[in-house]
Symmetry: C2
Subunit: 340 residues, 2 copies
Amino acid sequence: MNIKQLSKKLGLSITTVSRALGGYSDVSQKTKERVKKFAKKYKYSPNLNASRLASNKSNTVGFVLPLYGLNANQLNQSSFFEFIAGMSKKLNNENIHFFMFFANNAEEEKQAYNKLIFVEKVTKIILHNLKTNDDRIKLLTKNKINFVTWGRTKDLKNYSWVDLDNQGSIELIMQNLIEKNHKNICYINIAENYNFAYQRKQGYLKSLKKFNIKYNNKYYITIKNEEPTKSANLIKNLLIKNKKITAIICSTEYTAVGAIKACNELNIKIGKDISIVTFDGPVVERITTPALSAIVHPREQLGIKAVEMLLSMGDINYKHQNFMAKPRLIDRGTIHKVSK
Amino acid sequence: MNIKQLSKKLGLSITTVSRALGGYSDVSQKTKERVKKFAKKYKYSPNLNASRLASNKSNTVGFVLPLYGLNANQLNQSSFFEFIAGMSKKLNNENIHFFMFFANNAEEEKQAYNKLIFVEKVTKIILHNLKTNDDRIKLLTKNKINFVTWGRTKDLKNYSWVDLDNQGSIELIMQNLIEKNHKNICYINIAENYNFAYQRKQGYLKSLKKFNIKYNNKYYITIKNEEPTKSANLIKNLLIKNKKITAIICSTEYTAVGAIKACNELNIKIGKDISIVTFDGPVVERITTPALSAIVHPREQLGIKAVEMLLSMGDINYKHQNFMAKPRLIDRGTIHKVSK
DNA sequence: ATTGACACCCAAAACGTTTTGGTAAAATAT
DNA sequence: ATATTTTACCAAAACGTTTTGGGTGTCAAT
């Protein structure tokens, strides 16, 4: 069933049918309803290719998912799923399409963005995994693509973003630990060229300052290759050399796996001899006894907000917005009190 | 740059340019090359909407990813990523598009398939998470959609599939365990209405028979809600009541988390007092000391094969094919030898 | 010299929408 | 009663491709 056949059935012109379905005001209420009823009855759904061609609007949000590096064989995949779940909830409601490219390496990722813009002619994109300086922002701005980022660059100019409160969440952990008399707190971060890692470091440093604890550079480690066995060894070394350490904060679930492994091998009791706190790990959180304490973020909400912003960008008087998710610290019992 | 402008630059008709780029034989080799050179030079890429409208071909493979149930907040997300990585490698090469819907519940999932067929007008779909009897196969067959399934129904009639060797992989584990004198082997499965769970059960039973071990119904459990704490409690109970158990096979990584937790809490040493084997868990595998032994599947290869089949379905003399991935058992040291 | 086959090219139609630029009739204002 | 505005509709053009159904010129065979 196409619009021509439908209009014939209705005894109306193609124009009127199209405009009735589009909700235009130059069609009477009565006709609109009749058209919609018929469309439903005959299961008419406009040919998207024709519609997009004619209107020159894609009504599609683009997204590139890297399947390598930070995201490959790693746990934070679940964070993507949550974010995507949020996006798709909003998009399904609004009847907007969602087009995703998958990139198996950096080259494909770059290509994917170009394809989104120049081949798919998508005009709305959600960007994520931001670097402290991110070329993609230039590319999108230059080509007049509406975009919202999930994450931030160091320089926050002229774009809309949603993000976790990276700095705030580590401050929350630090405050909690320090209130329990922890002074020798390790933070195992990932490479700082990811801006969220950079922000978390800032939070770590700021908390130390706030509570008058001297920064000890042995206590701050960045791990590039997150392979758990490797991080386990690093952390083992750290614990052997620095007996004073009473708490470890892990930036990713993979690192937390390493920390657990290290503690097990050294026969250090988690939640008794040492506190471990991690970020958003759906599985590892629950593996130890007691279960790992963790920062939890409403990632789905982030996805919803991002799409909301993106869709409202059509308005002429749209001004750049941002949304920062509130972290929650769930103490499952791996944060212990240290005697003074 | 559109085809009209490009043809003007070339001094050729629109037809010839279109057919040159399409590789038709009624354009001279020389012209073809010239056209392609110009197309590259001026970064011409055909308007997909116009092209699809005119040719009535979508050149798009559809996929529905459920974000609930088995897949939500679970680990086997990584298995999707691997499969998708395979698909996208193949598709990116072939310049075929990949359209994905995300479904947050059963209703949305059903809708998503309908949208793929009737709105997006996709003619090729990859199906997964098959039930032992699966309605979707009827839907697709009825609407003449080409499809390949990842997984199988109980009834294997008239479709092409790729799959893990579920039965074979559990037989592999069983053989390995039994050779090491294990006789009291538990298998923790998930709900049997997923066909892969059903197949694995068959493998379990077959192995027992083969080695003349009597089936003990206390040793076979299915877990519906895979929440690790719950499985941990179930497994704890099991171990307390059945002291003879020397090996546990876990069907999913989440269950393995439960098993690890149970053993830790009961102070049973994994790899010494008890053997644990799991399926394809990228993280949990590596958390224990020694690391969990596991069945590993080449899921990426599965994705590649599925797409290959799907694309070759254009041929008139295509016959249904299937591909079963070979499992590997990686013994990382959690399989111990039992004294006779 | 004529015919047939072949290589190479093209104008126009078609795909199914949306949008433009109207018109006629009805309602309202003068 | 007439002029103006508003309401409700429509024919035709446009979007950028692919496909159809040709055509012309060249070359070899007769």
